[in-house]
Subunit: 330 residues, 2 copies
């Protein structure tokens, strides 16, 4: 048995969650529903304009890893924070959930801080992400411990990291070490505009190395530049062994071994969509590494996603295991 | 018209909210339902044992002031934070709500940090407070700007501050400046064990200076060392012009001008009791400084308290004004 079921690699950050309306987004030139990168001056300016907030550990892959740990999975995370209060919060929340998180925290030097994401939640429950990457941007190949990657059944690569200058070398090193020890590679597309910025690099890595592709509707059509999700899914099924694509209120599609399943979404009142895809991926990976079928994994993904959008914040607040039992998939 | 309806003085801190069960509290020798002071090593040790958390600005008087600002009141806050990330969060959240908060943030020197309170919420909704005062402990008379106090219709003094070494001098200076300009003084008892530690000082200040006393059942009985709340209320009515005492699910008692009202609690499912008393006091002060009757002020206090215990965190998440309208008190 390998030491880890899943190791995630992503942008480590703390979410700063606040409510906003569409007019506020428009006033500050913020594109609704997606992730935009901001620098520190913009982060400071934007923060001064938002209402009171709450701080919760976030980071897309970190949310997935937290969900796997929450479910009792053997999991670890790679991503960089500074030795500051937000870094301590991020590290605590991952470890408290049971994930292995070993990072050499960068000392505070004033030039960098732990990354944060100003999450603006609109009345419709949609979330709009304004990300100051901070120290998380500087993940390099030197941060990848090959012995750990070789000890992972799966690695899980966060698409947002394609924005980092040295992320490609880091991902390549992780993939080589993992595959060299017969491990498998999953990639999540993260965001349609991120896909737009790095389409060629995404496609190359997906075609060469991915065993499992996570995406949502917008990301999938952005990747393959198709009119419809159907066309994009057809392309993806050619490129990757397993495709798991969420589609909002329409649930999710899972394609594997020439079979295809549509999973209904769990009806819920959306309070904050942050983390829906992350929790889907976390539950899905936990499921398949625990011997569940792809269809069951998709159902568990939809249940976990429904849990996390029913409250503020991107980490589970109820027992996902209890929810799986209640929905008779466990 | 004075510049401020209410100025609050208290311990500035960020709440670290996490769930725990009674066994966990027992294992760590934590007395349920009250506030205990902890030092930094204890804070670090305790933090390493709690589950993943969320960070929300707190501080008892700061919660009350945030509620007044939320209601549109003219209000300011005095309490000390460091120039660190938690200090920035605390300052932002008060100002974003509309309160005036001018503090000279202490530079980070490693010896002190912004105060924090590890709030452990048990399945019954009760909250247990573990407070590392940090820099908030060092509020001195030098931090009190007498011109501001003279510009306050009311000042609101947090009982927790009686634990600070120089708090008495600071309170005395604030009281003198406020009363010297015909302002009024309200005091909240904060915690039964805090009252126990400083009973004589509390009684002296209440009898000499308080125009309005806030307390809950346990604090009131602790102050007057009586068997019953009735006896304690009788004493309090002798000592102070206005008495506002919350009593959990039994609502609240308001005594003023020789009259007495019992206000029913608003039925609600308690998710986290943190801030119930703070929101009661904030809404009560906003009400009486806006010309509402004492009875209406008590009702508004109970409505605000019910809002804050229906979710995690001690700051209002719904519009209190809308709730007052819905309950036909506004």
């Amino acid at each position: 048995m390998k030491k880890y079921q899943v190791i995630g690699i992503g942008n480590a950050m703390v979410d700063v969650l606040s409510y906003a309306d569409d007019a506020m987004l428009a006033r500050h030139d913020i594109t609704k529903g997606v992730m935009q990168l901001i620098d520190m001056p913009r982060a400071v300016a934007l923060y001064s304009h938002i209402g009171s907030a709450q701080e919760v550990s976030g980071g897309s892959a970190a949310n997935s890893i937290a969900a796997i740990a929450h479910l009792g999975g053997r999991t670890a995370y790679v991503g960089k924070v500074c030795d500051d209060q937000l870094g301590a919060i991020f590290a605590h929340d991952l470890r408290a959930q049971g994930a292995v998180y070993e990072t050499k925290m960068a000392p505070m030097d004033g030039a960098q801080e732990t990354g944060r994401c100003i999450v603006l939640v609109t009345p419709d429950g949609e979330r709009t992400l304004n990300t100051y990457l901070g120290w998380s941007e500087f993940l390099t190949a030197g941060d990848i411990i090959t012995d750990d990657m070789a000890q992972a059944e799966w690695i899980y690569l966060e698409g947002y990291r394609f924005d980092g200058p040295e992320s490609h070398a880091a991902f390549s090193k992780a993939i080589a070490a993992c595959k060299g020890a017969s491990g498998k590679v999953s990639i999540t597309l993260s965001d349609p505009f991120c896909v737009e910025r790095h389409r060629a690099a995404f496609l190359a890595m997906i075609r060469a190395d991915a065993d499992l592709l996570f995406a949502n509707h917008a990301e999938m059509v952005s990747l393959y530049q198709t009119e419809t999700l159907e066309e994009a899914l057809a392309h993806a099924a050619q490129d990757v062994e397993i495709v798991a694509c969420t589609d909002g209120a329409n649930g999710a599609f899972v394609i594997a071994n020439g079979q295809r399943w549509h999973i209904d979404a769990i009806p819920t009142q959306i309070k904050d969509a942050t983390g829906a895809g992350d929790l889907f991926a976390g539950a899905f990976l936990w499921a398949i590494t625990n011997g569940h079928s792809y269809e069951t994994a998709g159902k568990m993904g939809c249940i976990a996603a429904a849990e996390v959008i029913s409250h503020i914040g991107a980490r589970p607040q109820q027992s996902l295991r209890d929810l799986f039992v209640a929905h008779r998939v466990l």
